[in-house]
Amino acid sequence: MKTLMSGNEAVARGAWEAGVRFASAYPGTPSTEILENMATYREVRSQWSVNEKTALEAALGASLGGVRTLCAMKHVGLNVAADPLFSSSYTGVNAGLVIVTADDPGCHSSQNEQDNRYYAQAAKLPLIEPSDSQEALDFTRMAFELSEEYDTPVLLRVTTRIAHGKSPVTTSERTEATAPAYERTMTKHVLVPAVARPRHAAVEERLARLQAYAESSPMNRIEWGSTRLGVISGGVAYQYAREVLGGSASYLKLGMSFPFPAALARSFISQVEQVVIIEELEPFLEQTVRALGMGDEHPIVGKSLIPRIGELDSRTVALSLAPALADADGRPAGVAGAPPDSGAFGTAGELDSLLAPGREAEQVVGRPPMFCAGCPHRGVFYELGKLPVMVSGDIGCYALGATPPFSAIDTCIDMGASITAGLGFQTALDILRPDKPARTIAVIGDSTFFHSGMTGLLDAAYNGVGVITIILDNRITAMTGHQENPGSGFTLSGTPAREAQLEALVRALGIELVQTVDPFGLAQVREAIAVAMGSPCPSVIIARGPCALLKRLAVRRPACQVDQDTCRKCKACLRVACPALYVEGENVQIDAETCAGCGVCSQVCRFGAIKQAGAAEGGEE
């Protein structure tokens, strides 16, 4: 009986089947559901770590301690965890350790579209790339075997379409793994220079053995179709290639793409007339194939046709390949040369239909994401938008404060960068305009602050740089879909946890001016910012109000209403960009179903025309 699973569910299932007993991660799209699913298996101790570095270090420690361990993160999270990643290659493992990187081609919800396959190459770790949910499950299981057999962490890479794409999966039962005995091994686990030098040699020797394995690994296979065209591909790109070309090509399908199975590739290339390498983002496979000199004897194309920017889809692949496949008579060569019923798919692929002239998209008004009704961030960004300050932003829902009508954020760089980049900007202002004091305000969410904002704040306090930090404490990691964090009071498995105290924490870091405000009270927010601006020291404002979607804390007050007689039709209230407020003819109306009664719009109205049902007065002044 097959079940429909996302790649993320399948990775978790595969890890569970492999006998995993510890799993750690920091949430990040598109990786988040791996640990959320892991947490449903009671045999596994699963935890949200504070960031990806702590997650991977904990994972490596658990592996050395003797339990099979899974560690998951999004692609940019691996940047944060890069330090332990490179070290883990040298220490090797004790029990199996699999590290999942979830890349995001197309930047669906990321600040870049880096290709993390290069991390495997740089850290000298085997790289595994499933191309559907069944492979995600099977390859994860195999990755644990590989990890223990070759004494190496394994990097398993999924991309958004694999992570969030669902396909049928056949599951198996869990096999408990025997815990290897732990032995203190200074020559392997204590990476001082005298140990690291010989470990580098061991890593190179391991790579050579892994390459021999890759040549005959069941994860790498040739699928024969027409030999007029040979496709080298892996991951989701293989699926697009299969869709486009069907049985009109042969495929070298790589599930383990590093170390590269050079002999297998050489043999494949020698048996086909023309080679095309189809991969998303960077020419990772292509560079390897060319470096091995395979392109010298055979016509090989890759990124000269296939875009390296953005996500692929079937049509993009078809349009990219068309020029190379056209015969003299203009017929696509791959299709013309195909036997009528070849390959596992039994068809010649969708090339012809995908090449049909595209129809123009209708131009309609855009629908960008926006702050929810009752969002605690709205009022803060409304106030920040009015100030002549530089606002250093961070990663979270509140990055929406950069978009109109707020337009209240100058930068958004990476997790935790708001405070440190703000510190730098403040320093530049201090250097360039010592006579004209100007201020920088950093905005950062609670989870992001715990992730990597704390160190930056310590930096500001220590160096005495007067950056003002607003911690938007909405009591949850909201952006990725409500994951618990050290401030939320619960663990991943839902058990009560010791709650980190932000006020005490920032004071301990050396911040003397600490103010806590209700972000739904605009006057409070304004006053606190004014007080902070009045001090030359680094200071912190904690804007504490629960995420509107957080059922256990969010308070739904009576909806607001516009008194049309008092209303002057100035539409100033629309500047809070609330989904509950809409224009009908000349009037602004409030949709009672959508309104959360937060009252921010009523405080923006200078005429007191917006009132909460049951409240005596609108207006704050």
């Binding site: 669906h108 919800s109 794409g165 129809r359 926006m370 109109p404 879909g481 224009v583």
Partner: protein, 195 residues
């Protein structure tokens, strides 16, 4: 030679239940022993942005997503989203669309107005469009949030799966406490398009 894959795109606004509807739809071919792939994107899309899911099923499905010009059906939960994704339809594709209008951010802040001509623009494209008031039907049943299942019911008559296969899929995917409302919503939707 064309493949036998059926491509359905579900488009709407965050919070309308497009993903749940996609899960029901994807369950049908799975129960029928077919291959199926479903693709959805989480993240920023949930904050009131456009949400699209792709469901593909047949003997053997390769790509997880539907390319422009490949969709046999676009199931639109919102009027403007129907237009935004019309170019995904094949020449002979069918669009089943909810008439509900949900203003987006540029409209809410008064910089744009909601277009009045969506239905005629789709007609001018030659799209085989079937418009229905799924939200109204759901509201009559007592909960506008059931609009997704009303729409699914209306769409169900365009596919070959028998009605009991749909109800089974609904029972598999929808939590028990909501199943009665959803079965009623499905039946009401189905009546809208039954020929």
């Amino acid at each position: 030679m064309m493949s036998d894959t059926t491509n359905v795109m579900l488009v709407g606004v965050g919070g309308q239940g497009t993903i749940l509807a996609s899960r029901v739809l994807a369950q049908l071919p799975l129960d029928a022993g077919l291959d199926v792939k479903m693709s959805e994107v989480h993240g920023m899309a949930q904050r009131g942005g456009s949400v699209t899911t792709h469901v593909r099923f047949g003997q053997r499905v390769a790509a997880p997503t539907i390319s422009p010009g490949q969709a046999h059906f676009v199931l639109a939960f919102e009027c403007m989203e129907a237009a935004r994704h019309a170019h995904y339809l094949r020449e002979d594709g069918v669009i089943v669309a909810n008439t509900r209008r949900i203003p987006s951010l540029p409209i809410l802040i008064g910089r744009e107005t909601y277009p009045d001509d969506i239905e005629s623009r789709l007609a001018a494209r030659g799209a085989d469009a079937h418009w229905l008031d799924a939200s109204g039907v759901a509201a009559d049943l007592g909960n506008v949030r059931a609009e997704n299942t009303v729409l699914l019911g209306a769409f169900s008559t365009f596919l070959a799966f028998p009605e009991d296969a749909w109800t089974q899929a609904l029972r598999t995917v929808i939590p028990a406490k909501h199943i009665e409302l959803n079965l009623a919503a499905f039946a009401a939707g189905r009546r809208l398009t039954q020929r």
